[in-house]
Subunit: 315 residues, 2 copies
């Protein structure tokens, strides 16, 4: 059994995007197994358990991931994860991967897959709403599939926005107001907000939005009237209704689940898609278990690992 | 982060029985968190994910465990497991334990807790139906709480029964027919049967039965008319109805869920119990996640481990 302490460092982003796309394709054809994410409440946070099986990558396993909003004050990330991979034909554990960095990368890769499938243009301006780890990995991933002409960054923390802009100074990137950042061809929203950050009026026709931040009940980043104006695609219907960008609007009776235009898997298999050049499309990303499997499988190809004994009592 | 390759070797059974009892107590008072076990089907088997949080032991985590019935032909156990423990206040992974042997031990410990709480006598004859790993750990655990005068072992495989009898030759133990083994003061059934192995007529009044084998839909070891004659206690109602000894009888309309006499936690907190010396009591054990946490916590106290880096990107 292998342990990968820092598998994210071995990831090749274009390969990861293809692996994540394959996961969404299997989701679209219904050939994967993915029970609902389960939540356990802890003091000061929670942890989620995400089991799945992806025949297309011969991968099975579970990601265990916490969310503790006050961790930063303790010098720890809000979100940390471990993925356990099993050998599908025997069920034997074959690898454990630190999934803390992988989670960011697979989230970015999912946004890239959605951008390629749903954005009406191949190049243009990118607006980043939020400037943390998911903004960073999203920017890296989107750069692989979209010609980024310039980047506008906004964050509630000016310092975070400036740090991100400095890190990517080889791009045409600048810190702006939230309205200016929202006025982009492509948007990536990654805030932990529980009230709308992006107003409907700020968004032009033909925009594609990757809405990443909302991943728990009560979270939302977008004006509910933007949801009804747009064509909303989800990674997984059940998860999105429970904890995605649409969860608050559904709870408040402002958005009906039957308005969902499709899943990303349905888009990739040709059964759904944007209706016109002018439509606004939203990818409501909650983060699904099979993309964690895809990331873990990619990491296993090249990552450094420690070999561990797994004693079974059978010789 | 620690990895425990063979934590079962460090377990002190009396301590484990107390830790498992504490877990059932927390279950009885409703102070633990335990979402339903989730199942993922794989080629040739399945795997189950069992998350939970046990405030009484300050323990949180997940067991991932497979069931692949044909593994023995490949030199692997049918069941292998890994438990991931998290630090409850931060969600950080603190340990990974090989749970293959621990699973047997905690199952035995649960049977011991049930025996102490439900058997009408403190000593007598023990009948083992099935002679595999769970029979072995059950015998070890029950021996800590019950005065075993003699043991009668039956298994579909005569060889397994003889091997177990040889291993415990310091006891008054012998291989018998299934009827003779069933005619004991205390019974432990650990077969993977999908049809009744123990008939109602064979069981005397005042017997206590630990029914361990049924842990998936379609499995059963006991004559349905024995279920209606007896007082049936479960580890967890939801799990028992889905996959415990009662699942087939409920499905077939031969047993009603409202006949359950209580959970083991309710027995331990004094809200349920056997009604008389003559009653037959059955403990329907499916295996619950908080007992895996209890076993992992015990193992962490004394087990040998390998220290692993867990890099978080925060310094």
């Amino acid at each position: 059994m292998r342990y990968y302490p820092a598998p994210e460092s071995a990831i090749d982003m274009p390969d990861l995007i293809e692996a994540v796309k394959l996961a969404f394709l299997d989701h679209g054809t219904g050939s994967c197994e993915m029970p609902p994410k389960s939540y356990v409440t802890l003091p000061g946070g929670d942890f989620r358990t995400m089991p799945s099986y992806l025949p297309g990558l011969t991968a099975a396993g579970v990601k265990v991931v916490n969310v503790h909003p006050d961790n930063r004050s303790r010098g720890l990330p809000t979100v940390m994860g471990l993925t356990v991979l099993l050998d599908p034909p025997t069920g034997k554990p074959i690898a454990i991967l630190n999934a803390t960095g992988l989670t960011d990368l697979r989230t970015g890769a999912a946004a890239a897959v959605a951008t390629r499938a749903l954005a009406p243009v191949k190049e243009g301006t990118l607006g980043l709403i939020g400037a943390g780890r998911q903004a960073r990995s999203g920017l890296l991933a989107i750069g692989e599939v979209f010609g980024i002409e310039s980047v506008r960054v906004w964050s509630r923390s000016q310092k975070s926005a400036e740090r991100l802009a400095a890190e990517f100074s080889s791009l045409d990137i600048r810190v702006t107001s939230v309205e200016q950042a929202a006025d982009s061809d492509l948007l990536l929203t990654t805030t932990p907000s529980i009230s709308p950050v992006i107003m409907n009026d700020w968004i032009s026709d033909g925009t594609h939005i990757n809405a990443i931040g909302a991943d728990a009940p009560g979270k939302q980043e977008l004006d509910p009237s933007l949801l009804t104006r747009a064509e909303v695609f989800v990674d997984d219907r059940e998860q999105a209704f429970h904890s995605g960008e649409v969860n608050v609007a559904i709870r408040d009776g402002l958005f009906s689940p039957d308005r969902i235009a499709g899943t990303l898997g349905e888009v990739l298999t040709g059964r759904a898609g944007r209706s016109s050049r002018e439509a606004i499309t939203i990818f409501d990303s909650t983060g699904i278990a099979i993309t964690d499997l895809a990331a873990a499988s990619e990491a296993m190809k090249r990552g450094d690992y420690i070999e561990l004994p797994f004693l079974t009592g059978c010789q």
